[in-house]
């Protein structure tokens, strides 16, 4: 089979034609390599839209998909200058016997820790750190968490507010890890739930008293409560026997409707007040001694 493009070289000396054929093959090889390399390094374009099925099947991981209370507080700081000390609550009891109730209150206390950090109140951070340790002890998970408690105290002593936010997140995960090790994995959802409710109570409380539309829009959190409710529903039957857990579900359903407003329809001041009342009512149940 004649070599393609060899005809123009037919009057050239045979050695020269051979050289040109070799150059052609070399150029062809280089061009192929270049094309292959370009295909290899070309950025892969993501699809412009995810299907409903893909969205429905998206992974929802507790310590990744559920934001920390600190993220909600940070967002409010962008649209206002809240007086975070006004969102403190009186110290809560730390001698519960129900493990689900302890887990819910641990989450709430961690949210209190974020509020104290935003207020840059080292004494309050230390007080809350102590309460977290006391509650953790009642669950028998104090060893690993105690180390975190000491660290929180040190950071508070040195006013290291930025580091403290990460430390509180790490403490929450440490508590959950310890629960997993004690085969109390179902309680970890309750820690996240307690933290989310307390964070929502504090932020909605401030917005209700200082209403602006941009601040009100922050309270849109439909997927978080949907995920937490789904986890709550999946708790073992034993957990559902707890009167506190049993009473949470209808009130969470009502709260979900309140924080699931349409993107273009921010809540009114009255709506925010209703969200705050609902969250405060839940917190009151969670902290009440049985």
């Amino acid at each position: 089979m004649p070599f393609p493009f060899s005809r123009p070289f037919r009057n050239f000396p045979p050695q020269m034609v051979f050289v040109n054929r070799r150059i052609f093959v070399l150029l062809l090889a280089l061009a192929s390599l270049r094309a292959w390399g370009a295909a290899d390094s070309a950025p892969v374009q993501p699809p412009p839209k995810l299907s409903d099925e893909t969205i429905a099947q998206a992974v929802k991981q507790d310590d990744f998909s559920v934001p920390t209370p600190g993220e909600l507080l940070a967002a409010l700081n962008k649209v206002a200058k809240p007086n975070w000390q006004a969102q403190y609550r009186p110290p809560i009891p730390t001698a519960y016997t129900s493990r689900p109730q302890i887990a819910l209150n641990l989450g709430g206390l961690i949210a209190d820790g974020y509020i104290a950090v935003e207020a840059e109140d080292s004494q309050q951070v230390k007080n809350i750190g102590k309460d977290i340790m006391t509650l953790a002890k009642t669950l028998g998970i104090s060893e690993s968490v105690l180390r975190r408690g000491k660290t929180i105290e040190d950071f508070a002593e040195n006013n290291e507010w930025s580091t403290l936010k990460e430390e509180l997140d790490a403490t929450q995960n440490e508590v959950k890890l310890a629960m997993d090790e004690q085969h109390d994995e179902e309680l970890t959802t309750l820690v996240s739930l307690g933290g989310w409710i307390r964070g929502t109570e504090a932020v909605s409380g401030w917005i209700a008293n200082n209403y602006t539309e941009p601040a009100g829009k922050l309270l849109r959190q439909p997927a978080i409560i949907e995920q937490l409710r789904a986890k709550l529903a999946a708790l073992p039957a034993k957990a559902h026997e707890d009167s506190l857990v049993k009473g949470l579900e209808p009130r969470l359903e009502a709260l979900q409707q309140m924080v699931s407003f349409a993107p273009g329809t921010p809540p009114t001041a009255a709506d925010v007040k209703r969200i705050n009342d609902a969250a405060a009512d839940l917190i009151q149940s969670i902290t009440a001694k049985k």
Partner: protein
């Protein structure tokens, strides 16, 4: 005979899971490596005032496959989602979608492990595991500041020819 025995016994051992623990350990090591690699990158964001979430999302993706994870973001905050593979020869792409599933324009950030400084060998402090064949995208990040609070979706795709173990983290401020 020896070959025959190997052919007969090896699949059985694999099926019984006798060899599986070693593979599982290897995966755990890979996840640790991916985590370590991404924490290096996240340092750049924390230096800029971003708070790093303690939780991470790890796993292994076959070539060309994708995984989507839900996150919940608040309007006004700024976020960086950063991912690394365990193996510098593999690569991932990262994309962010809103709750309607629409692709969002994010601030891109791709990098590979830095090469050793000129004249410096690994003994002089250069990364001992630096691989000149590493892809340019084994660590990638996407930055976004939402106008709307709500659920968003992070999509990771393995763009390399081999399976990739990854670790995804995010930071906010």
């Amino acid at each position: 005979m020896k070959r025959l025995l190997l052919r007969a016994i090896l699949p059985g051992l694999l099926a019984l899971g006798v060899i599986a623990p070693a593979r599982l350990n290897a995966e755990t090591d890979a996840q640790t490596n991916a985590h370590r690699a991404i924490l290096d990158l996240a340092g750049a964001f924390t230096n800029d005032g971003f708070k790093l979430r303690d939780g991470d999302f790890t796993g292994t993706l076959a070539s060309g496959k994708s995984v989507v994870v839900q996150v919940n973001l608040y309007a006004g905050n700024q976020y960086w989602f950063a991912v690394s593979t365990a193996d510098a020869k593999t690569s991932l792409s990262i994309a962010l979608y809103d709750e309607g599933g629409n692709l969002l324009k994010t601030e891109p950030f791709t990098t590979q492990a830095p090469p050793p400084a000129k004249g410096a060998g690994s003994a002089a402090g250069a990364p001992a595991d630096f691989d000149p064949d590493a892809t340019a995208t084994n660590r990638a990040a996407a930055g976004y500041a939402p106008d709307l609070s709500g659920p968003y979706y992070v999509r990771l795709t393995n763009t390399s020819a081999a399976p990739a173990t990854y670790c995804l983290i995010y930071s906010y401020k």
